[in-house]
């Protein structure tokens, strides 16, 4: 008991120290930078909304610390063809956006690549031609996750090839095996019945992909820190996979329940049809928004709590903000797992509803 309280005291003191240091460096940064375009900077002009939204958004470079960041490749397509260049060419010595002369003159305006005129103003008409498929921070983070997944699962699969499924798991296998069994027993089997094996690869992939992305998003420094699963395009793409699998595998009963609900009077059938058709599209949209909103809300919460220190401009605010941040981060660990589980589970549920052959029992639970 005694050692426990000493330990927590140490943690508190250490975090106070770190926050104090970062506070000082932050103040120095504020003092150094003088952008004529920005508001007159004096202490207390900390733009919380800007700071938080800047983190939540995607970037063309991966910020490491202070003024150091990794430039990422920019790939854009205009009517003059593809262009590749490093994003370091788009920012100058003091991290202000500079014009890069490629086929057109490009400049970063609020994180987006725009074509500018000779006098430096944004040419909105030409900017529509820019089709940006760069390796941004989120994409780089996703590649990292993919490599991680390949590394983990080829290793585990090789171990199974060597020793077979009957022998006791060894090493990393013993960490992964219970989770795979959890997905099989809690997600796939209850909703998919005897056909679960067909959809296990999809469910496992989506579960581990989302989970590892959520966990990497919680790491505040380099290999993590990208808000990937809080990016609506990313979650939409995942939900699209579910949408396609559900509708490709949909049996006759599934389509019948959508277009001509059995066992109802005809006016009601006509009334229900548009609602059911809408439901087909609303399901993946709700999957999209659930994951996006949960993860983004978590990131915003953590950033807001840290920002409290800079809003109150006092080291002592960290005495409250840091424990709260730790608390929320631990909750986010749970949420990260839970959202991956929920996504896989709802996907299984939707697939299960689509592949059901016969309807002995009518319990259509509306799941938003």
């Amino acid at each position: 008991m005694m050692s426990k309280s000493v330990k927590s005291l140490l943690v508190a003191v250490f975090s106070l120290f770190i926050i104090f240091n970062s506070n000082v460096s932050f103040a120095q940064e504020n003092g150094k930078e003088h952008h004529p375009s920005e508001n007159t900077e004096h202490k207390g002009d900390f733009d919380v909304t800007g700071f938080i939204l800047d983190h939540v958004k995607d970037h063309h470079s991966w910020h490491l610390w202070g003024h150091t960041s990794i430039p990422l490749p920019v790939i854009i397509k205009t009517d003059k063809g593809f262009e590749f260049f490093s994003s370091s060419k788009l920012s100058g010595e003091h991290h202000e956006p500079v014009v890069y002369q490629g086929n057109y003159a490009y400049k970063l305006v609020e994180g987006k690549i725009k074509i500018v005129n000779a006098d430096g103003t944004v040419n909105e008409e030409d900017s529509k031609k820019v089709f940006d498929i760069s390796i941004t921070k989120n994409v780089a983070s996703m590649f990292l996750t993919v490599l991680l997944l390949i590394w983990i699962f080829t290793g585990v699969a090789r171990a199974y090839q060597k020793t077979g499924v009957k022998s006791a798991p060894k090493g990393f296998q013993s960490f992964i095996e219970p989770i795979i069994l959890f997905v099989r027993d809690e997600v796939a089997k209850p909703y998919l019945g005897h056909q679960y094996a067909r959809f296990m690869p999809f469910l496992l992939t989506i579960f581990f992909f989302i989970w590892i992305n959520n966990l990497l998003g919680l790491v505040p420094f380099f290999p993590g820190g990208a808000n990937l699963s809080g990016n609506i395009a990313f979650t939409l793409a995942l939900a699209l996979f579910t949408f396609i699998i559900v509708n490709v595998n949909g049996k006759k009963d599934y389509w019948k329940h959508i277009f001509w609900m059995p066992g109802l009077p005809t006016p009601m059938k006509i009334f229900l049809m548009p609602i059911e058709v809408l439901g087909v599209f609303i399901k993946p949209i709700s999957l999209t928004i659930r994951l996006f909103a949960n993860i983004t809300a978590g990131h915003i919460l953590v950033m807001s709590l840290i920002s409290l220190i800079f809003i109150f401009e006092s080291v002592f605010a960290s005495a409250m903000a840091v424990p709260f941040t730790v608390f929320i981060s631990v909750i986010e660990l749970l949420v990260g797992f839970l959202q991956a589980f929920i996504f896989a589970m709802l996907s299984a549920l939707y697939i299960g509803m689509a592949i059901e052959e016969h309807h002995d029992h009518h319990e259509d639970i509306p799941v938003i």
Binding site: E186, I289, R290, A293, N294, I342, V367, I368
Partner: protein, 74 residues
Amino acid sequence: MVVGSVAAIGAGLAAIGAGIGIGQIGKGAVEGIARQPEAANDIRTNMIVAAALVEAVSLFAVVVALLGNSVGAQ
């Protein structure tokens, strides 16, 4: 200024709804576990799923409030 406040009221209302919903789920789950302690694991899984669904609806509202805020501020 006014725009921000209205969005905040919206987020607050969403929090009320989610609070009531998750409270009801917790109440139901604890009562169920008290009656049938052997079913605790099943009840817990279903409770978490239901809580996540309720929470998601409130987060929809928060996203709409945020969007309304940023659109209104322009």
